[in-house]
């Protein structure tokens, strides 16, 4: 499978571990960064990771930050994405089987690596159960957002990054 992955600077080592883990299983990984521990902003990587899935370039996506909330929320806000933030395998399975989730998010400061590996395994291996009920709910979710012009727009956050670099935002 082609898997799009992204993280913030809090959990870069964990993301690198997961990439190795998945490559060893034969998956192809698109690593959207961040690539180091320099302070950056989770929506950049959540959106980048999700854009690849929304466009079809990747089959599924994985996003990780401290609690998982910030980066998974940014992924969820991309049209075509059904993002599931989880802390157990049961929910990962449900999200894939019933909601055909295409992005899984976890919190690297919340879950340990053994549990995270198992959550990802379940997410990748579970199959969507196509039926009328599930199709209907998914269509309802997908219809909430109409505009797809933000997908793939790499300059979307440029104004904020510039403001950050110019000291508009406090560094604390």
């Amino acid at each position: 499978m082609i898997i799009s992955i992204g993280c913030d600077h809090i959990v870069t080592d964990l993301k690198n571990h997961i990439i190795e883990y998945l490559e060893a299983k034969g998956h192809k990984i698109i690593d959207n960064g961040t690539y180091d521990h320099i302070r950056t902003h989770y929506p950049i990587y959540g959106k980048k990771t999700a854009d690849k899935v929304a466009s079809g370039e990747a089959d599924l996506g994985i996003v990780i930050c401290g609690t998982g909330v910030g980066i998974t929320t940014s992924a969820a806000k991309v049209k075509g994405i059904r993002a599931a933030l989880v802390r157990d395998i049961t929910t990962a399975k449900y999200a894939k089987e019933e909601l055909n989730a295409n992005i899984i998010g976890v919190g690297g400061r919340i879950c340990g690596v053994g549990l995270i590996e198992n959550i990802i395994d379940e997410f990748l291996e579970s199959k969507y159960k196509e039926n009328f009920e599930n199709d209907k709910i998914i269509e309802k979710i997908d219809q909430i957002v109409e505009d797809d012009s933000q997908v793939g727009d790499e300059e979307f956050f440029a104004e904020f990054i510039e403001k950050w670099e110019n000291g508009y935002y406090p560094k604390k």
Binding site: G68, V69, G70, T73, A76, K79, V86, Y94, R109, K140
Partner: protein, 142 residues
């Protein structure tokens, strides 16, 4: 603080429990789905829209796994929803992400844990500062 709540049928019992706890703590509750919505898309949309429209309001969503409500609420522009099954994230997501909506899974968390999660969420505050650039980014999306 006003707390806007909603659930589907599967989340109804836990929503009622959470509602009772919050009312006892003195919060003003607006229940968008007294009988439980037909599905979590309806409950999550209506709560998320109401939270976005009302400055200072918080939202709580319940369905069987929580993750469906999370998926939906975050599709509303300006809504930041966290699905959580422990207390640390409940605190941190308020503090760092300025999340105003909490989603819970009635099939995932028990009542004692749900109460502590809710108390940590409604009892924490956004700390602003460097976190604002990320929140501005999220709020531009959709």
């Amino acid at each position: 603080m006003k707390i806007i709540i909603g659930s589907d049928k599967d989340g109804l019992e836990l929503k009622e429990y959470v509602k009772d706890c919050l009312e006892k703590s003195g919060y003003e509750i607006v229940d968008k789905t007294p009988k439980g919505a037909d599905d979590f898309v309806d409950s999550a949309k209506s709560v998320a829209q109401a939270v976005v429209e009302q400055e200072g309001a918080n939202g709580i969503l319940v369905d069987e796994y929580g993750v469906g409500s999370f998926m939906v609420a975050n599709k509303i522009k300006g809504a930041i929803c966290a699905v959580v099954s422990e207390e640390h994230s409940a605190k941190m997501t308020k503090d760092h992400n300025n999340a105003t909506i909490l989603a819970l899974g009635s099939g995932i968390v028990g009542k004692k844990l749900a109460k502590e999660i809710v108390d940590n969420f409604v009892g924490s505050e956004y700390s602003g500062g460097r976190h604002q650039v990320r929140v501005d980014m999220l709020n531009k999306m959709l």
